[in-house]
């Protein structure tokens, strides 16, 4: 199995951007509304708490992977507990990444349909999205990592545009802090789960890392990057929209762009959403690779391209017959959140405890 990982090393920076990309992706769009619904204008405090929790979870994941520097989690599980344990882990991860991928893709298709191409059928948008996905994902983690890095660099100007609505901002909305005490803020933390999903990519990516000793610092950096962007965008939405009004918008992060007026362009959100497709792709392109990596592992294959082809074609065909509605999308998100809570937060803790016990037993 070792051969799979050589020649595909990714740098620490690519690793940071890969993780942040999977987290931010489509999840950021509705985050300010969800926080406002549960925690009001104090929702931004929930982000900071959520940041602490997901950083801890990421560090636990890295700690687990330190036991397996030369193989992914299925490799390790197969080595320690036997082949079937490895297969079970691979299956679980493949299913989870597939969920992540499907959620990202369907959300992107829905947003494209609402804002850009309302009359174009979903499956056509899906096929158009899948073509570049296949082209990038088939080359393995190094190219996917480079792609993420490139997209992050060319998106660096986006925050500047979000400063423009501050002209019409009302900082009074944020006062008083802790309006209703800590309880809504703590309830709001659960809204951070969905936007921080993606940390388990480490289970697969760890063996590809060039500098494994820096993995801990890298996951802290990626979580900080993610949460800083969430905090920035949430605060801007909160001071721009009235607290009574923000819950009216499904995706306040996009709607806020509509209020920007330039002399030379009307409806600035149109080029923006087209550009955002690249940001959204940071979810499904890595997830696509990760899914096929795990599914290929399951069948004992080292080349994941065959599965990638099957997955792309299956997704396209499935979209032709069935496109989730807004409501079903919501259900998918709920399932994904529950699934993610299990696999990204609870599973690593249990696994770490198991490893501790296992190591002690072996030593004695």
């Amino acid at each position: 199995m070792k051969k799979v990982y050589s020649g595909h090393e990714i740098t620490s920076l690519q690793y940071i951007f890969l993780l942040s990309g999977i987290q931010v992706g489509v999840a950021v769009l509705s985050l300010p509304r969800k926080l406002a619904e549960t925690a009001g204008t104090d929702g931004w405090i929930s982000i900071i708490i959520g940041w602490l929790i997901s950083t801890a979870a990421s560090l636990i994941i890295v700690q687990i992977m330190k036991n397996s520097p030369n193989g992914s989690l299925p490799d390790w599980a197969a080595g320690v507990m036997g082949m079937w344990a490895g297969k079970a882990v691979a299956f679980l991860l493949a299913l989870y990444f597939c969920f992540l991928l499907f959620d990202g893709l369907t959300k992107t298709v829905m947003i494209t349909k609402i804002w850009l191409l309302p009359n174009t059928p979903s499956y056509i948008i899906m096929i158009l999205l899948l073509v570049p996905t296949y082209m990038i994902a088939r080359h393995g983690p190094r190219i996917v990592g480079r792609y993420c890095e490139l997209i992050v660099y060319i998106c660096l100007w986006i925050p500047i545009i979000y400063l423009i609505p501050l002209k019409h901002s009302h900082f009074l909305h944020l006062l008083p802090p802790l309006k209703e005490g800590w309880q809504p803020v703590l309830t709001g933390v659960k809204e951070i789960i969905y936007p921080s999903l993606g940390m388990v990519a480490t289970f697969v990516l760890y063996p590809f890392l060039k500098h494994k000793e820096k993995a801990g610092a890298a996951v802290v950096a990626s979580n900080t990057l993610t949460m800083a962007s969430y905090l920035f965008i949430t605060l801007i939405c909160f001071v721009y929209y009235s607290p009574d009004e923000i819950t009216e918008y499904n995706n306040p992060v996009i709607s806020i762009l509509k209020s920007i007026e330039f002399r030379f362009i009307e409806r600035i959100e149109v080029p923006f959403i087209a550009f955002y497709l690249t940001v959204f792709s940071l979810v499904w392109i890595p997830a696509m690779y990760l899914t096929t990596f795990c599914s290929s592992w399951l069948f004992g294959r080292t080349d994941s391209r065959g599965h990638l082809r099957v997955l792309c074609i299956a997704t396209a065909i499935a979209t032709y017959f069935y496109t989730p509605t807004y409501r079903q999308n919501w259900v998918i998100e709920q399932i994904l959140t529950a699934f993610g809570l299990g696999i990204e937060y609870i599973f690593p803790v249990l696994l770490l405890a198991f490893i501790a016990v296992h190591n002690r037993m072996r030593r004695s």
Binding site: H170, D244, K258, S259
Partner: protein
């Protein structure tokens, strides 16, 4: 190898064939983009829609096409619009949204604008303008010496609101003011004078549900913008100084100044089961017009408090007006929520009534910065 090539080629062909046509294609020649739309009620209280669409054609003397129809809702009216215009109607470039006076007598018209926000392709930066009069008059006016109505109105509203003489309420802003419990909506107001001239007359204030409450003139609009902290330096105010004499028909007792620095501070407290607002206004201004003899060194100290007093009494009158009509266009509710959250929360659903019971303490500090090149 041959098989793979064949497979790739067929995949490419399949993708090209299925995805090459763009379903949302619309040629510019087939589009008709109204730049303004208006809503009003007719004598039978039926909703009337008006739109004004520019016509790009050499041979047509009149540059715009006006459509008028009785409708049920805005989206439902699309068929009627398409039936009357040369192309497919697109609501993507509205510059202004006009609402007639009869419509403003009723609550709930803001809900009728739902399509503006729900259909993502519509613009939300269009200015909302109240028409003091019937909408049919302004829509079909078409004066020969003026640009197209939407362009004219948008330009007038932009320049007037830059000078704070009216508010600059976009559809987005109206949405905010409508949903925010601590503020009531205010929109620009225009009217047709002598059946030929369109002019901005100030600001229309609406109740929480959107019904017409009161109107403000230029000077009151400036003060409203000042209280909202939206007035920029450069706004100009004129006052008659009491005790100075008039000469014949001329108001030689007046004085104008341009504010250079405006600082508004609003403090909130809650005492004796009433909200208390301390409003501190600090204005440093240049005199731009003085009609009466005036000695800088001697009269400065006299004049400053007099002007401050005039400003104060006008602001107090304005606040009384708000309280009388049960409205809060300034957004005092935002301050109440930020600083007196517990008390505000009890009354937030009927904030405007709570405000009518509030006490305002206004203090104005006025400094003359410069008097211009003449003594």
């Amino acid at each position: 190898m041959k098989f793979r090539l064949l497979l790739t080629l067929s995949a490419v062909t399949l993708i090209c064939v299925t995805t090459s046509s763009c379903y949302d294609q619309l040629n510019l020649e087939n589009a008709s983009t109204p730049l303004a739309f208006g809503m009003d009620l007719n004598e039978d209280n039926q909703l009337e829609l008006y739109t004004s669409t520019p016509i790009f054609s050499k041979n047509i003397r009149k540059k715009s096409l006006e459509i008028n129809a009785t409708i049920r809702t805005l989206r439902q009216s699309k068929a009627v619009q398409n039936a009357q215009s040369p192309g497919s109607t697109q609501g993507r470039n509205f510059q202004v949204i006009l609402v007639g006076k009869r419509l403003l007598q009723h609550e709930g018209w803001i809900q009728m604008l739902d399509v503006i926000f729900r259909d993502a392709r519509n613009t939300v930066t269009d200015r909302v303008v109240a028409v003091d009069g019937a909408l049919s008059e302004i829509m079909f006016l078409n004066p020969e010496d003026q640009p197209l109505l939407p362009v004219l109105l948008r330009g007038m509203i932009t320049t007037s609101s830059d000078n704070a003489e009216t508010v600059s309420t976009t559809a987005q802003e109206l949405h905010r003011q409508y949903f925010e419990k601590g503020i009531t909506p205010s929109i620009s107001q225009v009217k047709v004078k002598d059946h030929k001239r369109i002019l901005v007359t100030g600001t229309t204030l609406l109740t929480r549900k959107g019904r017409y409450a009161a109107s403000l003139g230029y000077q009151e609009s400036i003060l409203l913008n000042t209280l909202q902290k939206k007035a920029k330096s450069g706004v100009s105010l004129t006052y008659s100084i009491p005790g100075k004499s008039k000469t014949g028909p001329f108001d030689t007792d007046t004085l104008s100044f341009t504010a250079q620095k405006i600082a508004t501070k609003i403090k909130t407290s809650y005492q004796q089961s009433r909200f208390q607002f301390d409003i501190k206004l600090k204005i440093a201004a240049d005199l731009t017009e003085v009609m009466f003899p005036y000695n800088v060194l001697r009269d400065n100290k006299q004049l400053e408090p007099i002007i401050a007093g005039l400003l104060k009494s006008q602001i107090e009158k304005l606040l009384k007006k708000f309280q009388r009509h049960n409205i809060d266009p300034v957004g005092f509710g935002l301050y109440a929520r930020a600083y007196q959250y517990r008390e505000y929360k009890k009354v937030q659903d009927r904030w405007a009534e709570a405000l009518s019971d509030a006490v305002f303490h206004v203090s104005v500090e006025f400094d003359i910065n410069a008097i211009g090149p003449v003594k």
